[in-house]
Subunit: 338 residues, 2 copies
DNA sequence: TTGTAAGCGTTATCAT
DNA sequence: ATGATAACGCTTACAA
């Protein structure tokens, strides 16, 4: 049987309220006689008492939990984002529940449902996938705050990456290196993230006076395997591209393997640029040129907004986090590796 | 204000108990007149009622939560394990809380504490790190079951990988290929996992009549950066190794980059074998030969044991999950890539 | 087949 | 400075 506050009270010879006040003395200031406090503390220690967060949460209407919904746990980018969230959350006594939808609508829905049932104090929606649907009405009456990362939202505050600008930047870089046939490895989905990067790609092409060619855009399904297939398909074109921009690093890794397997070289035969700057990016050879978004910062900003909202403060509704192109070897312009 | 069971009861013109019975009809069989059920269901629908898991948990002494403690979220291996746990857990209505200790003792302790406070129904301890300490006494009285993955434990059931055997297998493979100077990229810590792999390495050496050389064992700190430094150090030895076995894939990736940067080639100049079979392993060029442990299976088995324990069934205390050496290109024996 | 009432463990409010 | 009491939202005997 679990030790309750009553057990402690009995052993210490005080009332449950006193025990409660001792336990929460860090949060709520309350005058307690030193002797009493000592006896309570001692009783807690000998009994090994730990308060029940469920009971506390029921009363306080707070679970102390923050839910994070990411599209794909196997993409190292998302753990980084969640690390940012976690650091800020833990600093304020919140714990996080990390959930991966695997870009599956049913899974997403059931997770949101569970999060709401658990009365999480906040939800962070990460990524631009359309498998997640959450309306203002759904969360209304739940005393739960919501913030989005990397997805547009009219109803909830958002922390955004300038994907269009970053896509443009990456493509312009390739164009500036003299490439005229630049391909884009996309991912078919309603993911706004990828679509935006593609828009930037297209804008750069058009601004550079290069015609957009549908043949040069292929699906890579977010994964290494998809990127590999995309790379093969692209390089088998009658007029293959001289540069490839992949919408994420995982696909870029796959594309790089495909290029090498065809006996071609990066960047000599094909230049390659990725997106995310995952940990392995700088340890590939050639090291991958990629768009780095400070993913940790992204998470931290989102969590700060959440905290502000929970405190009832009027939080900033829209925050942008910068991106930068990390020029390594795969684009042919840099020599930097690590 | 949130909708409670009383609101539904009032609207449907029944008592709260009846509403409760309708809501939980899937779990607990109870006779209810169809007409009544319909009215309740309708009221639930119009009001948008969702039960409060905190209240339910307080009463039932169940949170419906499973805590997972991993050493390092940025190693893609752990998300895979947790996926295995999750799949089984979700199938039985449990949700998981994913926590990364970052191999930090304070973080680990505070997470375990939080998990216990939240009255999680089960805890899965993943990885052999010594930053995690959890005794039978600590969980006693918490109605919380514990299971370990990849770590020895006398007190809790464990799902183990035969790290010694796998380490031996990988090393024997290299030895069989004619290598006599085989290095080991380790990770300094009390992690039993790495130590066991190293033991296997050593056993294979001795069984093969090759002397163990302390110089050939270097620290790689679990990461690509550490593996890179280790690779450089190893290849700068007056008598460099002709083969390197890294205790995990992240370090193997780093070592591969180091070797290439020194103008040497894998596997011609140095053969390389990793451990984990992370997603990128097969997309490196040369593709990484590595020990594959069915990490998903590992998680699934652990969760099944947890469920058995929670059901009060006598679960199997020790389960072993197989490993196999995936021979790709980096060891020089295979041609297989993807 | 349905309703009443007690209680899960905690904290806020009001007394003392 | 401390204690008694009510309440948070739910489930489950027990009663009807």
């Amino acid at each position: 049987m679990a030790i309750t506050i009553h057990d402690v009270a009995r052993v210490a010879g005080v009332s449950p309220s006193t025990v409660s006040r001792v336990v929460n003395s860090s949060t709520v200031a309350y005058p307690i006689r030193p002797g009493t406090r000592d006896r309570v503390l001692e009783a807690i220690d000998t009994l090994g008492y730990r308060p029940n967060d469920l009971a506390r949460g029921l009363l306080l209407k707070k679970s102390g939990l923050i839910g994070i919904l990411v599209p794909d746990i196997s993409n190292p980018y998302y753990p980084e984002v969640s690390r940012g969230i976690e650091d800020v959350a833990n600093g304020r006594g919140y714990k996080v529940m990390f959930c991966s939808t695997d870009r599956d609508r049913d899974k997403a829905t059931s997770y949101i449902d569970a999060l709401l049932l658990k009365r999480v104090d906040g939800i962070v929606l990460v990524g631009g996938g359309d498998e997640v649907e959450l309306s203002k009405e759904t969360v209304a009456g739940y005393d739960t705050q919501v913030v989005c990362i990397g997805r547009p939202s009219a109803t909830f505050p958002t922390v955004r990456v300038d994907n269009v600008g970053a896509g443009r930047m990456a493509t312009e870089h390739l164009l500036g290196l003299g490439h005229r046939r630049v391909a884009f490895v996309s991912a078919l989905s309603e993911s706004t993230t990828v679509n935006e990067r593609q828009r930037g790609y297209r804008e750069a092409l058009e601004a550079g006076g290069t015609a957009f060619e549908p043949d040069l855009v292929v699906d890579g399904g977010f994964t290494e395997a998809g990127g590999y297939a995309a790379g093969k398909a692209l390089m088998s074109l009658s007029e293959p591209p001289t540069a490839i921009f992949a919408a994420n690093d995982r696909m870029a890794v796959g594309a790089m393997a495909a290029i090498k397997d065809l006996g071609l070289r990066v960047p000599t035969d094909v230049a390659l640029v990725g997106f995310d700057d995952v940990p392995v990016a700088s340890y590939l050879r050639p090291a991958l040129t990629t768009v780095s978004v400070s993913s940790r910062e992204l998470g931290a900003q989102a969590m700060k907004i959440l905290l502000d909202q929970m405190d009832g403060q009027s939080a900033r509704r829209r925050v942008r986090v910068d991106t930068r192109l990390v020029i390594r070897q795969s684009c042919g312009a840099g020599t930097e590796s690590t």
